[in-house]
């Protein structure tokens, strides 16, 4: 069972307490954007086999959205962090690079 620590309330929550929300750090586009940008925001996903930055909600806990760095081919968790950022904090990036040398943040 997947365990993630909520960065807000500090609870180490198991999966039944959480709801997944897909890829994190999507660039948002709204009315007036090009069709390409709008499609990319709404539908296109990197869907990597490996390190995935993703959204979770502590649904049956404090209720807040947070972000996690996790490997989709081993289910290893590198760290969790608050949702109000455009990239993972340094300590999470370091944890990823230590285990996955050469990994780069997707564009």
């Amino acid at each position: 069972m997947l365990l993630l620590t909520c960065p807000y309330c500090g609870v180490e929550a198991d999966e039944t307490e959480l709801s997944p929300g897909g890829e994190a750090h999507l660039k948002r586009f709204g009315p007036g954007a090009s069709d390409e940008d709008f499609e990319a925001y709404l539908f296109l996903r990197d869907n990597p086999k490996g390190v995935h930055l993703e959204r979770w909600r502590h649904a049956n806990g404090c209720g807040k959205w947070f972000l996690a760095a996790r490997c989709t081919s081993t289910l290893e968790v590198f760290g969790t962090y608050p949702a109000q950022t455009t990239r993972p904090p340094e300590d999470v990036l370091e944890a990823i690079r230590a285990k996955r040398p050469g990994w780069e943040m997707p564009a």
Partner: protein, 414 residues
């Protein structure tokens, strides 16, 4: 290829079964093929088969990183139906269902197609209205379905509990000509027929890169070296995002785990397939007597072919309300596959931004039923550049906003 028949069984029995020939060759790859298909699941093999059978294209290789049929094709619960809501879906799924009816004869391979009938239970008033609408749509599409009463459901499924406390059975959408087939046999039958046409099925060979020049595909890199091709078909289900990345484009797909389980075998007790979409569970009984059970997909991106146990728990808990007699059954085994989910829950059979590179994916939780129809359409698209059955399933539909929204009709795994 020596044909399978009752006579062949007698002949081989007389010589202690020493004379059966291998069903397919296992060749080393050649330098170049007219077409390469990546992925020897049902959809990849059916594509190769119809490239040869319908379009005379036989210089074809199917490249598989594991063993053929070892992906979702060998992991699914084999429900076959075509009672979808939207016209493009009804067309391709009904084509597939009708090809299943003659597949054993066509391939000279017993795929054990069993048109035992499929009921989708309506357990809320919303579902009653939804399925009545689907039944009406199906009439126009030439797909034979009918909305039936709770009493008719009970007659078809004596072990059902109609007045479950949370979700009473209010009726059902009945497709008498839906059913099941033997999943491995579908892959094996196509593989044997492809090999017999001279095609190379190359197992234990992973595609690690896609080579291109001036926007045209040139070939693939593999763990057995580079192989050239004129046309490339990517048919890898859960790994579609990985292959798309190699070919330089992105897809509207996320890969998640979907699980299933079977019980210990019991005496025959249910001779139709029952799906309960509100509670996310469905069940049929295999020829061996096991109750075959599936539910909804897991929620997060995953490539491990292992799901979370609480989803199994949820599925079983829900089904026990509707089928109280299964509450004492022991679970025999449980497994998972990685399914490719699109934004509108419909598949993609499409050209791609890379010239002469085609993709067939996004079948998600429900593509076993589509295998022959999908292969038929994909082969036509690869051979001729267009296919009426595939016309609406382009990857550009997400940009154009022309979704084929089946999330209402197919919101659950099947």
């Amino acid at each position: 290829m020596r044909r399978y028949s009752a006579f062949a069984i007698a002949r081989e029995a007389a010589r202690h079964h020493q004379g059966w020939e291998r069903a397919w060759r296992s060749p080393e790859p050649r330098k170049k093929y007219d077409a390469i298909i990546v992925g020897a699941g049902g959809h990849g093999l059916a594509t190769a088969y119809y490239l040869g059978k319908n379009h005379g294209l036989k210089n074809v290789a199917v490249i598989e990183k594991g063993w053929l049929g070892g992906g979702n094709t060998g992991r699914n619960t084999t429900i076959i139906r075509s009672n979808y809501l939207q016209d493009p879906s009804a067309a391709i799924y009904e084509k597939a269902r009708s090809l299943y009816e003659t597949m054993s004869q066509d391939l000279n391979y017993n795929v054990m197609f069993s048109p035992r009938g499929v009921i989708m239970l309506a357990q809320t008033h919303h579902e009653v209205r939804g399925y009545q609408r689907t039944a009406h749509a199906n009439q126009h599409q030439g797909v034979s379905t009918r909305f039936i009463s709770p009493e008719e459901v009970k007659k078809l499924v004596p072990i059902i509990n109609l007045d479950g406390p949370r979700y009473p059975v209010l009726g059902g959408l009945w497709q008498a000509r839906g059913g099941t087939a033997r999943h491995d046999a579908v892959a094996w039958g196509y593989a044997r027929a492809c090999s017999d046409m001279g095609m190379d099925i190359i197992q234990k060979c992973e595609v690690t890169g896609v080579r291109s020049s001036n926007g045209q595909v040139m070939g693939v890199e593999t763990t057995k070296g580079p192989i050239d091709c004129d046309k490339l078909g990517i048919v890898v289900a859960g790994h579609s995002g990985v292959l798309a990345d190699m070919a330089g484009f992105r897809l509207p797909i996320e890969s998640v785990a979907l699980q299933a389980l079977v019980s210990e075998p019991i005496k025959p007790c249910m001779d139709v397939v029952v799906m309960a979409n509100t509670v996310h569970g469905y069940m049929s009984q295999s020829d061996k007597g096991e109750m075959v059970i599936g539910g909804g997909a897991d929620g997060y991106n995953n490539y491990t072919q292992r799901g979370s146990f609480h989803h199994i728990e949820e599925t079983v808990r829900a089904l026990i309300e509707t089928f109280p007699m299964i509450s004492r059954l022991k679970m025999l085994r449980q497994w998972g596959g990685i399914v490719d989910m699109t934004g509108d829950r419909s598949p993609i059979i499409s050209k791609t931004p890379l010239g002469n590179c085609f993709v067939n994916c996004g079948w998600g939780t429900g593509g076993f039923k589509a295998i022959p129809g999908s292969g038929w359409a994909m082969a036509e698209l690869m051979a001729k550049g267009e296919s009426p059955l595939a016309a609406e399933f382009t990857m550009n539909r997400f940009k154009a906003g022309r979704f084929i929204d089946e999330s209402v009709a197919a919101g659950v795994a099947h």
